[in-house]
């Protein structure tokens, strides 16, 4: 059960119950649908840019606790950041999820997103955690949708 509690940490349950930035954006710079064909979950990420800077970011859609919390945490993390920082964040996030399970890794520099490190132990759920990030990447690249496949 410890692994479960590691996966469903309090902060994740909180973001699942009360997702932050869970709304549409008026006149977004761009938006994209993230789609997980395995489960059929779908969420949309909205992006408002000011030059290179993420002025506002939000999401809406259906998903499990992991995908919803991950999307919520992502929007909190990235608001006010630059696109380059967002890109680096996605890369770092993917690296975190790819870390060896038995490896003691320090995710302190990662803020609240580190609460998702428990997903590493549940390979079937990694795509839930990355869904919003894939949608964001698509939105940045001007695509309409992204899938986790």
């Amino acid at each position: 059960m410890n692994e479960l509690f590691d996966l469903y940490q309090e902060i994740i349950l909180d973001h699942n119950r009360r997702p932050r930035n869970y709304r549409t954006l008026e006149e977004p710079t761009s938006s994209a649908d993230g789609y997980n064909p395995i489960c059929g979950d779908e969420l949309k990420v909205y992006l408002k840019l000011d030059g290179d800077k993420i002025k506002d970011i939000s999401f809406q859609g259906q998903g499990c606790a992991i995908s919803k919390a991950s999307a919520s945490l992502m929007t909190v993390e990235l608001k006010g950041k630059t696109l380059a920082e967002a890109e680096a964040g996605f890369k770092r996030f993917q690296e975190m999820l790819a870390e060896e399970v038995d490896q003691e890794v320090d995710f302190l520099d990662f803020g609240d997103l580190a609460s998702l490190s428990g997903v590493r132990r549940f390979p079937a759920r990694i795509k839930c955690a990355t869904l919003a990030w894939h949608a964001l990447e698509a939105a940045v690249q001007g695509q309409e949708e992204a899938t986790t496949e």
Binding site: M1, Y8, L13, I38, G40, D41, G63, A65, R125
Partner: protein, 422 residues
């Protein structure tokens, strides 16, 4: 599966007279432990576990009999050919086909439907024609027809369901018209368990001269499927959902259609003679079995059907109905649990959602307790949309599932509700 007994369930040897514990001992995998828990396998609509007798014949085949069929003039090839053709006869007896020639071995239900769509379908469907399916369909009885419809300029029409998941037969009658060229129906819904009245629906389609293709993937393991009683034009099912190996399935067709259908795949094993200018094809079933078939699979399937008949399909149906009834009762008492699919005629498939937890979260939690269910859209996204959900959690039962296992799943679900509610 029908309106049989729903009396009080006492002990493990219940109403149907099936000794579940003796039966469980024949499935070696059920003794497995998962994460320090006894293994509770309730994902039987995805695939069933295999009895030792099926595992043994596969082992024996590769240990002692392996050779290619219909080719070699040598001892083992003759033996393998005989075993393969004997398996065909075994299937024909099981489904009461008029002739074993009407049994075509395929990889599974998906390939069977694609075969019918790409041969019979293409031959029959023209621009402006209609293909009639139902809201209950698995993607494998939607997509193959969409491919044909697109190629031929035809249209897919869909029979609606009510909120219980029951087909609207009045709408069905209205949808059958002179443009309808094929009706393709799942016999039992894989996602919510509805049993479809195939006999009646075939009769009505036939009155208008329309052939019916039946996806029997979920019915063959759980109820008697008699081709002459159903009177369907094609019937398809998978071996692995009826205690047999993966990679082997059956397509049954009526003689009058199979006779004129063009080949599906070309290759060895399906020809009478080949020149660079012209190939003459075998008659069915050989015409539709290009390449080396899944010989071991066919023998394994025959062993699986032996197993089913030894237990008795009616007994299986009665036992599963009891388990479904018990599980429905237990699950219904869980706070915030909603069952999707409440048709009066239902196979042992229990699809549900929880207010507090998404199906994937449910599945991850149950897995920690050694319980295997399926979570997601069950390859029936249009049905999920109709039911207003993106997916469900699904427990699907088989003859080896016990009431204790149902209790374990229910206990585990209560734990999940508590966890997400806190």
């Amino acid at each position: 599966m029908t309106e049989s007994s729903q009396t009080a369930l006492g002990g493990n040897r219940i109403e149907s007279g099936l000794d579940v514990h003796a039966l469980r001992a024949r499935f070696p995998i059920l003794a497995k432990r998962i994460r320090d828990n006894s293994f509770v396998y309730v994902d039987n609509a995805a695939t069933t576990q295999k009895p030792q007798s099926v595992i043994d014949v596969l082992n024996e085949y590769y240990t002692d009999q392996n050779a290619n069929i219909h080719r070699g003039i040598h001892y083992l090839s003759e033996q393998a050919t005989e075993a393969y053709e004997e398996a065909r006869c075994r299937v024909a007896r099981f489904i009461n086909a008029p002739s074993e020639r009407q049994v075509i071995f395929v990889r599974g239900t998906t390939e069977g439907i694609n075969l019918v769509a790409q041969t019979f379908g293409r031959q029959r469907i023209r621009s402006g024609d209609e293909i009639l399916i139902s809201t209950l369909e698995h993607h494998s009885n939607i997509v193959p027809w969409q491919l044909v419809a697109e190629a031929q300029g035809a249209v897919i029409k869909v029979i609606p369901i009510d909120d219980r998941g029951v087909l609207d037969l009045e709408a069905y009658r209205a949808l059958l018209n002179e443009r309808t060229r094929i009706v393709a129906l799942s016999h039992v819904s894989n996602a919510i368990g509805t049993v479809v009245p195939i006999v009646e629906m075939c009769r009505e389609a036939h009155q208008k001269g329309i052939p019916v293709v039946v996806d029997g993937a979920q019915s063959a393991p759980h109820m008697k499927v008699d081709m002459q009683a159903l009177d369907c034009d094609f019937f398809v099912f998978s071996g692995h959902k009826i205690f047999g190996p993966t990679g082997i399935g059956v397509l049954y067709g009526k003689d009058e259609w199979l006779r004129d259908m063009p080949p599906y795949e070309g290759g060895g094993g399906m020809i009478q003679s080949v020149t660079f200018e012209k190939t003459r094809f075998l008659e069915f079933p050989g015409r539709f079995e290009a390449g080396t078939p899944h010989i071991a699979g066919s023998i394994g399937l025959a062993a699986a059907l032996d197993f089913v008949e030894e237990i008795g399909i009616d007994k299986i149906a009665a036992y599963e109905e009891e388990i479904l009834h018990y599980a429905t009762e237990q699950f219904s008492s869980i706070d915030g649990l909603r069952i999707l699919g409440t048709a009066p005629q239902k196979a042992a498939v229990l699809s549900f959602v929880l207010d507090e937890a998404h199906p994937h979260d449910i599945s991850t939690f149950l897995d920690q307790d050694g319980i295997a269910i399926r979570a997601g859209h069950h390859c029936a996204q249009p049905l999920m949309k109709r039911l207003g959900v993106s997916g469900t959690a699904r427990a699907s039962f088989s003859i080896y599932n016990t009431r204790e296992e149902v209790d374990k799943v229910a206990d585990s679900l209560r734990k999940i509700v508590r966890f997400f509610k806190r």
